[in-house]
């Protein structure tokens, strides 16, 4: 049987079942028309522009670097991104004015007429000294203030001697545990 052109095309691609290959090869060898048809397909394949292995390797290498770089850029953790927020000079000036005004209001309205003033000088963990003025006319109010603040760190208390009499040696008493007792 004479193989048609589709069979020859399939043979060129190596997709003919093994049992028919011999028959096709003998037809190509013996029949000039079949051979001419087959040669036409072979010639077409030969004329297809080649893509050289060097070119493929070069492209693969270039693309690999580019892909890694693009993937790295898109998967970089957010903490590595630098975000710049433009702040207009006018906004900065307005914020400075607000802060200055708030400071002035605080100074003008702070309590100054307390019967007795207690000065608490606290030193925070960050080693920044903070002086706080508390209107405490008696020990109960001072202790209550301390308990409410839940402060941590070393605190030096300066008490006016007119209201707070010094008796005995200083002892460490937590505000919550103070029951009004006087040390012996």
């Amino acid at each position: 049987m004479r193989p048609d052109r589709m069979i020859l095309s399939t043979y060129l691609d190596g997709e003919i079942p093994a049992r028919f290959v011999g028959e096709i090869e003998s037809a190509i060898a013996s029949d000039p028309a079949v051979r001419a048809d087959y040669q036409e397909f072979v010639e077409l394949r030969r004329r297809l522009p080649p893509v050289t292995a060097d070119r493929v390797a070069q492209s693969a290498q270039t693309s690999w670097a580019s892909i890694r770089s693009r993937l790295h850029a898109s998967h970089e953790p957010a903490r590595h991104h630098t975000v710049s927020i433009p702040i207009p000079a006018l906004g900065v000036a307005a914020a400075a004015i607000v802060a200055l005004a708030a400071g002035l209001i605080f100074v003008a309205t702070r309590p100054t007429s307390a019967a007795a003033e207690t000065y608490l000088s606290g030193r925070h963990a960050s080693d920044v000294a903070v002086t706080i003025r508390v209107d405490g006319s008696d020990m109960e109010r001072v202790l209550q203030w301390l308990a409410d603040k839940d402060m941590l760190g070393e605190i030096n208390i300066q008490l006016p001697e007119q209201q707070f009499r010094i008796v005995g040696e200083p002892v460490l008493v937590k505000p919550a545990q103070y029951q009004g007792q006087v040390p012996e």
């Binding site: 589709m6 095309s9 691609d13 077409l44 004329r47 297809l48 493929v56 492209s59 892909i67």
Partner: protein, 174 residues
């Protein structure tokens, strides 16, 4: 950490195996080195973003070839549209042949075949390019295009016949 390492390893393996195939296919469909590089990179970035969906490297291969082939056909279509629009606006056709380093074909014969290949309908062109440049068998091409092996055989044959016809016509015209 192990999962990330495994993913990287799979990506590298698939890249080494599949890149040459899709590069040859995309290059032959688009006819441009620069475009082929760009589209192959795009295909692999898409793959990386979906890598967990393809634990099997064979599935990844077929998916990548399909994506790259579609990207290439779309790029050619877009380029043709742009050329037509350019021609309409300026009353002169924009040259299709890239210049210098980007030129894929070097000889006159290669140029003729390249031009004839571009004239094939996309379905014919892609199946022939997958066969000739992807070095894939009919079964693999069928998996990529979602058609039967028999259909691949017929399309490859028809594509060859049409290509031969176009080449003969062009030779007679000159």
């Amino acid at each position: 950490m192990q999962r990330a390492d495994a993913r990287e390893e799979l990506f590298e393996r698939v890249y080494g195996h599949v890149y040459p195939i899709i590069y040859r296919v995309v290059l032959r469909v688009t006819g441009r080195y620069d475009v082929a590089d760009e589209l192959c990179q795009e295909a692999f970035i898409k793959y990386y973003e979906r890598i967990d969906r393809f634990p099997d490297s064979e599935q990844a291969k077929y998916w990548l070839i399909r994506v790259a082939k579609n990207l290439a056909l779309n790029a050619v279509k877009r380029s043709s549209r742009e050329r037509r629009a350019y021609g309409r606006v300026f009353n002169e056709p924009q040259p299709d042949v890239p210049s210098g380093e980007d030129r894929v074909v070097r000889t006159e014969s290669e140029a003729e075949v390249h031009d004839a290949l571009q004239q094939l309908p996309p379905k014919m062109r892609s199946v022939l390019v997958l066969k000739e440049y992807g070095q894939l068998n009919y079964k693999e091409i069928g998996s990529i295009l979602g058609i039967t092996e028999g259909n691949v055989k017929v399309r490859v044959f028809r594509a060859r016949e049409q290509l031969l016809e176009l080449l003969k016509r062009n030779e007679n015209a000159t």
